[in-house]
């Protein structure tokens, strides 16, 4: 193994990423080559020193402070209206409130709709029935077949233009 190749592999060897065969070749070369041996030793010494800088413990439990900061951030994000709405949106208040609003809406809509819509519908139905009967009779006397679309078109015309 040549010096250039050995220097390329020193880093990988220090991480244990070379095969046992390559490691053996590397070791054999380092044993007889002073410059490669020096590079190997400086690398391993440096890595040993550097590893002492890592894995330090946090001086305090961070959660209490993080929790307060999260709450502050959430409040800032929500703004004044969001903060006022938050208690209202809690399930214990929100669920009965939504149910009450839904029930009130349903009752109101049905109370307002039914009396005004029903007579119109009945009036229109009897008007249509009478007109259809009259028109069908007229067509039958004239020798035409049944044509509902013509009836419908007639019905759509405003009364004043008939």
């Amino acid at each position: 193994m040549k010096c250039a190749k050995v220097r390329e592999l020193i880093s990988a060897d220090a991480d244990g990423l070379v095969s046992p065969r390559v490691h053996e070749e590397l070791s054999a070369h380092i044993a007889v080559c002073d410059s490669c041996k020096r590079e190997y030793e400086t690398t391993t010494r440096m890595l040993a020193e550097v590893s002492e800088l890592g894995n330090r413990k946090a001086p305090v439990d961070m959660w209490p402070v993080v929790q307060v900061r999260i709450e502050d951030t959430e409040h800032a994000r929500q703004g004044i209206f969001g903060r006022l709405l938050t208690p209202v949106l809690r399930p214990i208040i929100a669920v009965p409130a939504v149910a009450a609003i839904a029930a009130a809406t349903f009752i109101t809509v049905h109370t307002l709709k039914e009396p005004s819509r029903a007579p119109q519908q009945y009036a229109r139905s009897s008007e249509v029935a009478a007109y259809y009967e009259e028109f069908s009779e007229f067509r039958s006397t004239q020798g035409f077949g049944d044509n509902s679309t013509v009836v419908a078109a007639q019905l759509e015309k405003p009364k004043g233009k008939e």
Partner: protein, 217 residues
């Protein structure tokens, strides 16, 4: 009002120690799902699980315990706020590391001048924390040499470009695998390998005098 082993208080389930122990056995993804469902307290499990690793990593950038603590907390708050954007394509902790590193780098950009760490140590000693990064021997000469050695190393690491420094810190200082770093940095493993190798070469050249002279750093 009691629900299971948690206490119901105005719509929030406050975790009691037993509940927290059970939840700490859950996977990160399961805890993240709990947080997304509105259980803010579950996020405390993730904070307590990763606070040492995040603090240690950030400390390698800012070299100041007070700043590292402040930035770690900031990183956790950012993670909480950004949890909606976390889709679980990568592991939670690699995503968290990414936020922490970006937070540390941003703070360095805003504040180029570095504070001296030794001035801040007293504040932590007052609250009963003894820094573990210094040789704990009682011999003051050895303690001083340990501090000098660390400063020498930190100065050398500081001189690296941000990309080389990040790969080196995560791999050689914090002990993450090349695959994990690739996930954090969103780049191929080959790129990580190359950055680590280049960082080591640069550091070895800078520290050659100490390392080859047989001196301790």
């Amino acid at each position: 009002m009691e629900i299971a082993s948690g206490t119901y208080r105005w719509g929030t389930i406050v975790l009691e120690p037993a509940t927290e122990r059970v939840m700490s056995d859950l996977s990160d993804e399961a805890v993240v799902a709990q947080v997304r469902d509105g259980n803010t307290d579950a996020f405390g499990i993730l904070v307590r699980k990763y606070q040492d690793r995040i603090y240690s990593t950030i400390l390698n950038y800012v070299h100041n315990q007070e700043d590292a603590l402040e930035l770690s907390q900031e990183a956790f708050v950012k993670a909480y706020s950004g949890l909606r954007k976390f889709h679980g394509k990568s592991a939670f902790y690699t995503w968290l590391y990414r936020i922490a590193i970006n937070t540390a780098i941003d703070s360095l950009r805003k504040r180029p001048a570095q504070k001296v760490e030794s001035l801040e140590d007293d504040k932590f000693t007052e609250i009963g924390f003894e820094p573990v990064s210094v040789d704990p021997t009682v011999d003051p000469v050895k303690a001083l040499s340990a501090r000098e050695r660390q400063q020498k190393l930190q100065q050398a690491i500081e001189s690296l470009s941000t990309k080389l420094k990040t790969a080196f810190i995560l791999h050689d200082v914090e002990g993450l695998s090349q695959e994990e770093i690739a996930d954090i940095l969103k780049c191929p493993v080959g790129t990580v390998k190359s950055r680590i190798s280049r960082a080591r070469d640069e550091l070895r050249n800078q520290l050659a005098e100490y390392l080859e002279g047989g001196k301790s750093l």
